[in-house]
């Protein structure tokens, strides 16, 4: 043991509990459903049910009109109604009404202070970090009893918009919690209500060991997901409610690929491209008779066309996009069967809604009626423009690029760091800017997979589907409720490396931390260094936006949303020189 190391207790799960749960509260919970019927013996001693309830839940008391869940927020918890009722607002509410605010940023003084207050040594931790994105408590009242966000005149609001009432024993919010997606609806307290909020890690662990709850939640998930999704599909906007209901009944919910796809993906599992495509679960195959209209619910699907002996990627379909509509329209118009022109494969894990051909033909197309052209236009807007618009015919180089992006699953990224190597002078300004804004620590590596002159650097892409969050035992890695930026709460991170191992892009790095004097912190029990997961936080609190992009003098570095392929190809089309 040298003086350069200081032994401290290793941080553990529940060191930072979700809320202030008393043992008595837990006892009370264990006396009611659904917890009463859970077999506590199914839990290992290291992860007792009591522990989960103590550390991963909290009880919130709400007054009428209090906002519980805000549509569009990235939620990390599910709710169980313990007393009273809540209302799920079915229509979109104004963001201002919902009290959405700009995320806090540093002041100029604080920004300048980084010039001298940054640590001299790498990975120094002065004290526990303060911000906890998972702990954004929208609706609960603070100590003084003041509501954080409060909706005025709830009855009138509800008159105008459709709503669903939920009572004691019902669960909501599980969709966002489990799929790492934004909340699909706003929930407000109907009167006085008491809710149990369960951190999604706790919910996951309970589901894993209690089949009844798992089934219940999965059932809920399927139902809610289907309706929400159908309502959100542009193609079905204009359909009357009763038709939607009929469509919903006929729609099949299908899942493709492995939910844990990231475990056998990544640089360690390098594969031949053809092999990889072949390994991807097939959702629809080119040349087959259309079995229905396919709506992507979550994940990514690769749309490809046969080219020689392999498949050429044409596009990626993400959440909300539609596959097979043009074929159905054409066959409806001509009366002849038109086969699928493209293949659709699951990249990773994909949820698909299949509306059978007959339903489309009988319920959707007739009701679109005169607006078929309009529907087509809408489709162009939303997705297949790259294919249907001859002007943007995919060129060979674009196809190669798409293959590259798909092979590496970079399409998941919303803030992917791309570097144009024809312009990058390797000056490391980006890395230094990153370090200067992160207490003297870079948060990415200026290296990564390369395609022609394009390099995808080793920085967190802030994925649409952040699989890194899946295994986190404490919820330290979470999305910012407002922006969706994936951030790690240094205080609650226990250094278990799960996220780092889960990330298919190697964007998360474990580091050994030091105290301000420069000594490494080691676990007093095992003498092992204490680790923390680190990665790009997209400079959320900085005044400048992403410092890396801002610091690049040569127009070489950009953070790109992969969903916006037009923007990407525009940036690439700028050419070097």
């Amino acid at each position: 043991m040298s003086e350069l190391e200081i032994a401290v207790p290793r941080p553990r799960r529940w060191n930072e509990p979700f809320g202030e749960m008393a043992e008595a509260d837990v006892d009370a919970l264990l006396r009611i459903e659904p917890f009463r019927s859970i077999d506590a013996n199914a839990f290992p001693p290291s992860l007792p049910l009591r522990g989960i309830l103590l550390g991963d839940t909290r009880i919130g008391r709400y007054q009428a009109g209090d906002l519980i869940v805000r549509e569009g927020d990235y939620g990390h918890s599910a709710f169980l109604v313990l007393a009273g009722t809540v209302r799920v607002v079915l229509e979109r509410l104004d963001a201002k009404l919902l009290g959405r605010e700009e995320p806090p940023r540093r002041s100029w003084r604080q920004a300048i202070a980084q010039l001298w207050s940054n640590a001299k040594l790498p990975e120094v931790r002065a004290s526990a970090g303060a911000n906890d994105p998972a702990n954004d408590r929208v609706g609960t009242r603070d100590e003084s009893g003041t509501a954080r966000v409060f909706l005025q005149d709830v009855p009138r609001l509800l008159e105008k918009t459709g709503s669903v009432q939920l009572g004691v024993g019902e669960i909501f919010g599980e969709l966002a919690a489990l799929t790492r997606t934004p909340r699909t609806a706003t929930v407000i307290a109907d009167g006085r209500a008491t809710l149990l909020e369960i951190r999604w890690q706790g919910l996951r662990d309970i589901m894993r060991r209690s089949p009844a709850i798992r089934e219940h939640v999965e059932q809920l998930y399927r139902e809610n997901s289907l309706r929400v999704h159908l309502r959100e599909t542009p193609l079905l906007y204009d359909l009357p409610d009763n038709i939607i209901e009929q469509v919903a009944l006929a729609t099949e919910f299908e899942s493709y690929g492995n939910f844990d796809w990231y475990s056998d993906f990544g640089p360690n599992h390098a594969r031949d491209a053809t092999e990889q495509i072949a390994a991807e679960p097939l959702i629809a195959e080119e040349g087959d008779r259309p079995t229905g209209l396919l709506l992507i619910r979550s994940g990514f699907a690769r749309m490809s066309q046969r080219h020689g002996h392999g498949h050429r990627t044409l596009a990626y379909l993400g959440k909300g996009q539609v596959f097979g509509f043009s074929e159905l329209i054409e066959s409806h118009a001509t009366g002849e069967g038109v086969p699928w022109r493209h293949s659709l494969r699951a990249v990773g894990y994909v949820d698909v809604l299949r509306i059978p051909t007959e339903v489309v033909r009988e319920l959707i197309i007739p009701n679109c009626g005169l607006w078929i052209a309009d529907c087509g236009l809408r489709m162009q807007d939303t997705q297949q423009s790259a294919i249907r618009n001859p002007k943007s015919e995919i060129s060979a180089s674009d196809a190669r690029l798409l293959d590259f992006l798909a092979d590496h699953r970079f399409l998941n990224g919303t803030q992917t760091m791309l570097i144009n190597l024809d312009r990058c002078t390797r000056c490391d300004d980006c890395v230094r800017a990153c370090a200067a804004t992160h207490d003297n620590n870079p948060r990415f590596i200026r290296q990564g997979p390369k395609h022609d002159n394009l390099m995808v650097a080793n920085a967190c892409m802030h994925c649409v589907d952040p699989v890194c969050m899946i295994g986190c035992p404490t919820g330290a890695i979470a999305r910012d409720a407002n922006t969706g930026t994936v951030r790690i709460n240094d205080r609650t991170c226990i250094g278990c490396s799960t996220c780092a191992n889960s990330c298919p892009y190697e964007a998360i790095r474990m580091v050994e931390i030091r105290e301000p004097g420069g000594a490494f912190l080691v676990d007093e029990a095992t003498q092992q260094p204490i680790l923390k997961a680190t990665k790009c936080d997209f400079c959320a609190a900085q005044l400048t936006g992403p410092a890396c992009q801002n610091a690049c003098p040569h127009d070489a570095l950009v953070r790109v949303d992969m969903a916006n392929l037009t923007g990407l190809s525009q940036w690439l089309g700028r050419k070097a020189g």
Binding site: L121, P122, N440, M510, E512, Q527
Partner: protein, 692 residues
């Protein structure tokens, strides 16, 4: 809990921002701890082995590469302890390099600015040839500059330190006010110091009077002053033309836009005939009449000859040009000689009857009142208060012939005058030049100096005056030579110039007068008297002196001086007699310059009349009837601008301002520019002129 993947050890963040890099990094074995903030190697063990029974187990973190091959030592120490000498990162090296460069530059500057080198180091370039000698301190023309630093000859800043320069930056305008003054330390002989920095060296108020707008010098320059360096830019090398100036520079004040000489330059007006010629000469009559009569060719260049610089046409001398005809007339006019002292005929009886006893009066000069007093004698008498009153009573221009013997007032005046005449003769006889000097000093107010008196009486012998005294019985002045009571202290310190007797003095006992007969043209005695009178201030206010001057300077007066040498009024109520024709080579530097030489080379201009055309109809005689030389009728037709503009275009002879104009003018000219003489303004105050 899962542990990091196997390749993580090599996939740590690159940290180019850190100043120190592990010395083993180049081997690819950088230790996980890395150098300390101070750049020391912590020599940290990679793990703390744990004890398992009696065996020590390696406990290396997977992040550091997992369990090591060597394993712990038997004592339980870690086998993986790296020692290195940390190296600086590239950025750190660059930072030190930049600091070194900056220090080097600062060092070089410190050396350059140290005393011995400083002047040479900060000089922005060599001076123009004319100023090069300034840098030779020991030979500086200005003794006060000797021993100063080289730069200090012109720059006061050179006497200050670097900190002083920084200080002067705070009050910028106070930075180098002294520079122009330092220029003037050498240039004061050619440019008046007071107005050296004013536009054209003309006093601002005068300048304002003569500009069309009345605005005066450019309002850009608040103090109406321009530093010398504004136009004369130095440190541009030995061959740099310090006086070159472009037209646009002129136009920064002269705001009327000027594109070309032919279109934009104002007409010349009467130039160059802005005043009558100093020598009265009628070109028309000489050409048509006098030269023709004498059968002489009338050619301009017979009288107007080129000077050495070939830029100015000078007038030929009297001897060469005029004497042939005019010598004879002059000789005739002075044949009888000019009276210096002349006794009038006094009616002694009438005076006696009236009760005035004037004592003995020469018999030959006794009878009815008659005779004029010579002008010079009047002046000497004017020194006597009684005589002055008497002459005033009789009228400044009186003649004894006009005295009314029945008028008691006039008789009383005559009596006083007669007494005064007698004492004058006695006085001069006794003390000669001393008496003359005293009397003139009293009569003309300003002190008349010894040499001047010598000039006035050059050649007048003691015996002549002694004899004159003998006209009066009873005056005994002895026979001693002059001067009797001039003390050595009264004599001017400087050497008295010798005035050769040019003409002859003689005593005329018939007319009882002392007379002077000038030798020839330009007689020094006669001119001395005229000069003395002309230079007397406030002539207008002294009728007696004025009358005297008028008499002597009449065109018909003996010597005929004023028939050719024009008389005109100058400043302070003085008059001047133009003894010489205008000589531009010695004349004041004016705004306009012209060189005849190159013009005369042109065949079409070689005949002067192509520019100077005689206007036969002009009445030139009238031009000299007044004292103001600017009230005149020129006998030459004015030169028109168009004549010049034929050649003076941008492409041919040039049309830049400096072609014909000077910037700096002499003070006399500056004063003239003020407008006096054209009747537009009063002449400047005498003291103001005197102060300059």
């Amino acid at each position: 809990m899962r542990e990091p993947g196997p390749d993580y050890a090599s996939r740590q963040y690159e940290r180019p921002n850190q100043p120190w890099v592990c010395g083993l990094a180049s081997d690819g074995q950088a230790c996980p701890a890395g150098p300390t903030a101070g750049g020391a190697c912590p020599a940290l063990a990679e793990c703390v082995p744990t004890r398992d029974g009696d065996r020590w187990m390696c406990n290396r973190s997977p992040l550091r590469g997992g369990v090591c091959a060597e394993g712990p030592s038997p004592e339980g120490g870690c086998g993986c302890v790296h020692r290195c000498r940390p190296v600086r990162s590239l950025r750190s090296i660059r930072g030190r390099f930049v600091t070194a460069c900056t220090l080097l530059a600062a060092g070089v500057l410190t050396i350059l600015l140290s005393a011995d080198w400083r002047d040479r180091a900060i000089s922005p370039g060599p001076l123009a040839q004319q100023h090069a000698q300034l840098l030779e301190n020991e030979t500086s023309p200005n003794p006060s500059l000797r021993g100063r630093g080289k730069c200090a000859e012109c720059h006061s800043a050179a006497e200050r330190s670097v900190a002083g320069w920084a200080g002067s930056l705070a009050g910028f305008h106070g930075g180098e006010t002294g520079q122009s003054q330092r220029c003037m330390e050498c240039h004061k002989s050619t440019i008046s110091t007071e107005f050296a920095l004013v536009a054209h060296n003309v006093a601002p108020q005068l300048l304002r009077q003569i500009t069309a707008s009345g605005v005066g010098p450019s309002s850009n320059h608040k103090r109406h002053e321009l530093a010398c360096a504004t136009c004369h830019r130095e440190h541009r090398g030995a061959q740099f033309d310090l006086v070159a100036m472009n037209d646009a520079a002129c136009q920064s004040c002269h705001q009327q836009r000027y594109q070309s000489f032919s279109t934009d330059h104002p007409d010349f007006g009467v130039w160059p005939y802005e005043r009558r010629t100093r020598i009265v000469f009628n070109h028309a009559s000489h050409q048509a009449k006098h030269f023709a009569e004498k059968k002489q060719a009338f050619a301009c260049r017979l009288c107007h000859v080129e000077d050495a610089t070939q830029s100015v046409q000078l007038l030929a001398s009297f001897e060469n040009a005029c004497a042939l005809c005019h010598d004879e007339k002059i000789a005739t006019s002075v044949a009888k000689g000019l009276p210096f002292i002349s006794l009038p005929t006094i009616d002694v009886d009438a005076l006696k009857t009236a009760g005035h006893d004037i004592g003995p009066w020469p018999e030959a000069a006794t009878g009815d009142f008659d005779g004029r007093l010579p002008p010079m004698m009047k002046l000497l008498l004017a020194a006597d208060q009684d005589a002055a009153q008497a002459m005033t009573a009789l009228g400044a221009d009186f003649d004894f012939l006009d005295v009314d013997p029945d008028d008691p007032v006039q008789l009383a005046a005559c009596a006083k005058l007669a007494a005064a005449i007698r004492s004058l003769v006695a006085d001069i006889g006794e003390r000669g030049p001393v008496a003359v000097r005293e009397r003139l000093s009293r009569a003309l107010a300003p002190y008349v100096e010894e040499p001047e008196v010598s000039a006035l009486m050059a050649g007048l012998s003691v015996s002549v005056m002694h004899e004159a005294a003998n006209w009066f019985p009873g005056i005994d002045i002895g026979k001693e030579a002059w001067p009797r009571d001039v003390k050595s202290a009264d004599l001017p310190a400087r050497k008295t110039p010798q005035y050769d007797p040019a003409g002859t003095w003689f005593l005329d006992d018939v007319t009882l007068s002392i007379r002077y007969r000038p030798a020839a043209h330009a007689d020094s005695v006669l001119t001395s008297w005229l000069k003395l009178l002309a230079a007397t201030p406030n002539l207008e206010l002294r009728p007696l002196v004025m009358a005297t001057f008028r008499e002597l300077s009449s065109p018909t007066a003996p010597g005929l001086c004023a028939s050719c040498h024009s008389v005109e009024r100058v400043a302070e109520g003085q008059m001047t007699i133009n003894w010489r024709a205008y000589n531009r080579t010695t004349g004041p530097r004016s705004l306009t310059k012209f060189s005849h030489g190159p013009h005369l080379l042109l065949p079409q201009l070689s005949d002067c009349t192509s520019c100077h055309a005689i206007n036969n109809s002009a009445d030139t005689a009238a031009a000299y009837s007044e004292d103001n030389p600017h009230t005149f009728v020129s006998e030459f037709a004015p030169i028109s601008k168009q004549q010049c503009a034929q050649c003076h275009t941008a492409k041919a002879a040039g049309e830049s301002c400096q072609k014909c104009h000077n910037y700096h003018v002499d003070e006399i000219e500056a004063w003239r520019l003020g407008g006096w003489g054209r009747g537009e303004a009063e002449p400047p105050d005498a003291r103001e002129l005197g102060a300059r």
